[in-house]
Amino acid sequence: MLCVLILFIAVKILVALSIPYIPEVMTQMGLLLMLIASILLVLQAILAISLHLIRHSLAFFSAQQRQNRRTLFIQSRQQQIQQLLAFKTMQIRYFHDLNRKKILEKNNREHIRSLSKNIDQQLLSMKKQLSKSTFKALKQQNKTYRDSLNSEALLELQQTIAKLD
């Protein structure tokens, strides 16, 4: 590139001195040199990149690097397994709690149904003493509380009915 620069400066000087033919030849030569220099630069860059890639690929697939990657893999697997244990334990605990709550709900339903049945019987025995609308309303309340498993409301209802008796 430096040669080309010198050549072009020389051409300028020759043109300034009004010397014929030589500047044209020198310009052609300069252009050719510039083309060759550019091609050489590109080739050099390609070569450097290729060498860099090869060197890094070789390092990447070297036994030491492979073993290092394997160590990292095993370590991350170990962490995964630890996390998996925590998640599985959580899952088992969740389903266990759910199961226990279902059992409790079933038991609650049985006893609430029994209490509601008792209230129904109590209401039937008092049917004559109560007005039709009160009887109907109390019966409806009993059904609502039973369906919503509201034991406290059922107990209160039972007390209300007992006071009416």
């Binding site: 036994a63 030491q64 073993q67 290092n68 394997r70 160590t71 095993i74 370590q75 697997r77 170990q78 397994i81 630890q82 998996l84 244990l85 599985k88 334990t89 088992i92 605990r93 266990h96 199961n99 226990r100 059992i103 409790l104 038991n107 609650n108 006893h111 029994s114 209490l115 008792n118 209230i119 034991s151 107990l155 039972q158 007390q159 007992a162």
Partner: protein, 181 residues
């Protein structure tokens, strides 16, 4: 001519540098080989050490997997046993309710329900308590409650008295309700 001389001089310099390099390579050839060999050996030993460590890690990983599997199986079994125990307790409470109803012939259903419900609440609190000390306290409360109830029903049957309600038990429930408020 001077250019030719100058070029020849340059070529001479290049050749002398090459000679020097060749000479240096010849004298240091053995040392160079030795160093390369040492480096290769060092790399080999490093790789071997890493391989050994990885094998150990893989072995540890397998052990950890087995250990976790065993832990999970134990935990699952414990949960299943826990459910069985819970069912057993609920059944016992149901039977307790039945026995109260059998003992006190005229006991209102609402009272039997309240007693049973209170016992069940105690049981649930005990079951859900995370703190061991609190769990023990609640268990003691439940046992105390059941003992009072059991004593009262058996006393009632033995003496055949005319009490219509298990008053001690109901008082205990009342006390606990008041203390909670």
């Amino acid at each position: 001519m001077s250019i030719k001389k100058w070029i020849l001089h340059l070529v001479g310099i290049v050749h002398s540098v090459k000679d020097e390099n060749l000479h240096w390579q010849a004298t240091n050839h053995e040392l160079n080989n030795k160093l390369k060999h040492q480096q290769a050996l060092h790399e080999q030993s490093l790789v071997a050490e890493l391989q050994k460590r990885n094998a150990q890690l893989a072995h540890d990983l397998e052990l950890l997997k087995t250990q976790h599997e065993t832990e999970l199986v134990i935990f699952k079994t414990r949960c299943e046993q826990d459910i069985k125990d819970y069912k057993h307790y609920l059944k016992a409470l149901d039977q307790l309710k039945l026995s109260i109803q059998n003992s006190y012939a005229h006991l209102p259903e609402a009272v039997a329900f309240t007693i049973h419900h209170h016992a069940k609440q105690l049981l649930n609190k005990m079951w859900e308590a995370n703190d061991f000390e609190k769990k023990m306290q609640l268990e003691m409360k439940l046992i105390q409650f059941m003992t009072v109830l059991h004593e009262e029903t058996s006393h009632y049957l033995e003496q055949d008295n005319d009490k219509k309600l298990p008053e001690k038990t109901l008082n205990l429930i009342q006390q606990r309700e008041n203390s909670r408020k």
